[in-house]
């Protein structure tokens, strides 16, 4: 027990994640031995993807912080590429404008790395929001231009602006009396958002009766949502040691993450439905596309970031 107390918050957290993964892997392995079936196979490939994602996050958290910025930058890039590829709304002549959108990724992450808050906060919603329509106008085709003007900046907001807030957590200045720092906050929001997905799914499978919006996401039920919400709030209070929050503030963070995760999830579901796709891609095995994995994070990350910002830094 003494050894556990001597560990830093980050080490404890990594141990928790490792424990959850080992438990899940063993559980599914035994389940498969006893009662094989397609559902177990599906769960097993999912855990495999979790291992990959957890190792990336852990390596980034332990080794040099710059690695995390590059890793998140690549994640944004891949998500933006996936969204641009499935999008039917962008025109073929928008290719070169989409190229500008890709260039925004390193710039945004550079601002995050340097910790330049004002440029970081306005670069995409103000500068790129103007630059993309401007370059589109310069090309001179006005047919359907309004659509491209709205779609491309939205892609940037969903995949680059949002996810870069996870990276910026690592650039937040140190707070007195709080050891876990930005890495703790990062693990807190990522872990809780992903757990919230799992909680909602599990409660929905167990008790789900009343659908929330059947046309968008037939598996989302009120029972799943509320069960997920309560479990996530519980987990948030348990993991409070990773954050500078009081118990009440942790409760608020759990509530925010659960609600915004749900919002992100159904927004991406609706986009996929519009494009006639079930999974947005096949990048991570068993996990559908990258976008399917970060849908909840895309909304919960910026909301959580500004929640922390308002409570601790304002």
């Amino acid at each position: 027990m003494q050894y556990l107390k001597d560990m830093t918050e980050i080490q404890q957290m990594i141990l928790v994640i490792l424990g959850v993964l080992v438990f899940a892997t063993t559980l599914f392995w035994i389940w498969k031995k006893i009662k094989p079936g397609p559902q177990v196979d599906e769960l097993m490939t999912r855990t495999k993807s979790w291992w990959v994602m957890a190792s990336i996050f852990t390596t980034a958290a332990i080794v040099h912080p710059a690695i995390s910025f590059i890793a998140f930058g690549l994640l944004s890039f891949a998500a933006l590429r996936e969204l641009s590829s499935i999008s039917k709304s962008a025109r073929i002549e928008d290719r070169s404008v989409i190229f500008w959108a890709y260039l925004a990724v390193p710039v945004q992450y550079f601002f995050a790395y340097m910790g330049w808050f004002a440029p970081f906060a306005v670069f995409i919603p103000v500068f790129m929001f103007t630059w993309i329509p401007f370059v589109l106008v310069l090309k001179g085709h006005t047919q359907d231009i309004a659509r491209s003007m709205s779609v491309i900046p939205t892609h940037l907001m969903l995949t680059v602006f949002s996810i870069s807030h996870l990276a910026y957590l690592l650039s937040l200045p140190e707070l007195p009396q709080f050891n876990a720092g930005g890495r703790g906050l990062l693990l807190f929001v990522v872990f809780l958002t992903e757990m919230n997905d799992v909680f909602q799914f599990t409660w929905g499978k167990l008790l789900g009766r009343h659908k929330i919006i059947e046309k968008i996401s037939p598996n989302k039920t009120w029972e799943g949502f509320i069960g997920g919400l309560l479990s996530t709030i519980g987990a948030a209070i348990l993991l409070r040691f990773l954050t500078p929050f009081t118990t009440l503030e942790a409760l608020g963070a759990g509530l925010l993450i659960a609600c915004m995760g749900f919002v992100g999830d159904i927004i991406v579901s609706a986009i996929k439905r519009d494009f006639g796709l079930k999974d947005t891609g096949t990048a991570i095995k068993g996990h559908g596309g990258i976008l399917d994995r970060i849908d909840s994070l895309a909304i919960s990350a910026p909301f959580f970031f500004y929640y922390v910002y308002l409570i601790c830094y304002w």
Binding site: S84, S85, I92, R95, F99, G281
Partner: protein, 191 residues
């Protein structure tokens, strides 16, 4: 090169279709210059140096530097249409080398397969022991379309099918056979 392709968004499926194959003719649809690079990147190193993409001299032979570069990096055989083009290719096959052919003759419209030229049929008839490897390429036309010089990342897929010996007896029958194999590959989702 493979890392660059990955970054651009090209995914290669069923790469081990090349395993155990020493001589073959890769037959693919054609949308972009990316296609040749993607196919070369998917080849095992052991056959890479003995595999020649076939390109038309009308395009790549026009400028000396273009011809030079395509020879230097990709081992290309340039053929002139209506010339004794097939003879050049037959020589390569007789040496035990492999070919990459785009029988549509030019980069077509994305997602559509144009009618094949008959050259593939003539070659497969003359060398019945050499299998063809069907390939369906999707999405590269968006990365680098005809007439553009700026590659923009988009997701693309290269589906490699199993090596097949042509069974048709006439040139036309073989051409149709190859074409149907590629179209089947396009629909298959198992790869």
């Amino acid at each position: 090169m493979p890392i660059l392709l990955k970054l651009v968004g090209v995914r290669i499926r069923n790469q081990n279709a090349f395993q155990g194959q020493n001589q073959f003719i890769v037959v693919a649809n054609h949308n972009s210059h990316i296609d040749t690079m993607a196919l070369l990147a998917s080849l095992p190193i052991r056959v890479l140096m003995k595999t020649h993409p076939v390109a038309t001299a009308n395009y790549f032979g026009k400028k000396k530097w273009l011809a030079f570069i395509s020879n230097l990096f990709v081992n290309t055989v340039l053929i002139k249409q209506k010339d004794n083009a097939l003879q050049l290719l037959e020589e390569k096959l007789k040496k035990g080398h492999s070919l990459i052919l785009f029988p549509e003759g030019t980069r077509g419209k994305p997602g559509e397969l144009q009618a094949f030229r008959s050259g593939i049929g003539v070659l497969l008839q003359a060398f019945p022991h050499i299998p063809f490897i069907p390939v369906w390429i999707e999405g590269t036309g968006k990365i680098l379309p005809k007439g553009s010089f700026l590659p923009v990342p988009f997701e693309a897929e290269v589906k490699i099918g199993a090596a097949t010996l042509a069974t048709g007896t006439s040139v036309e029958a073989i051409v149709v056979e190859v074409q149907t194999t590629i179209l089947d590959l396009r629909r298959s989702e198992s790869l």
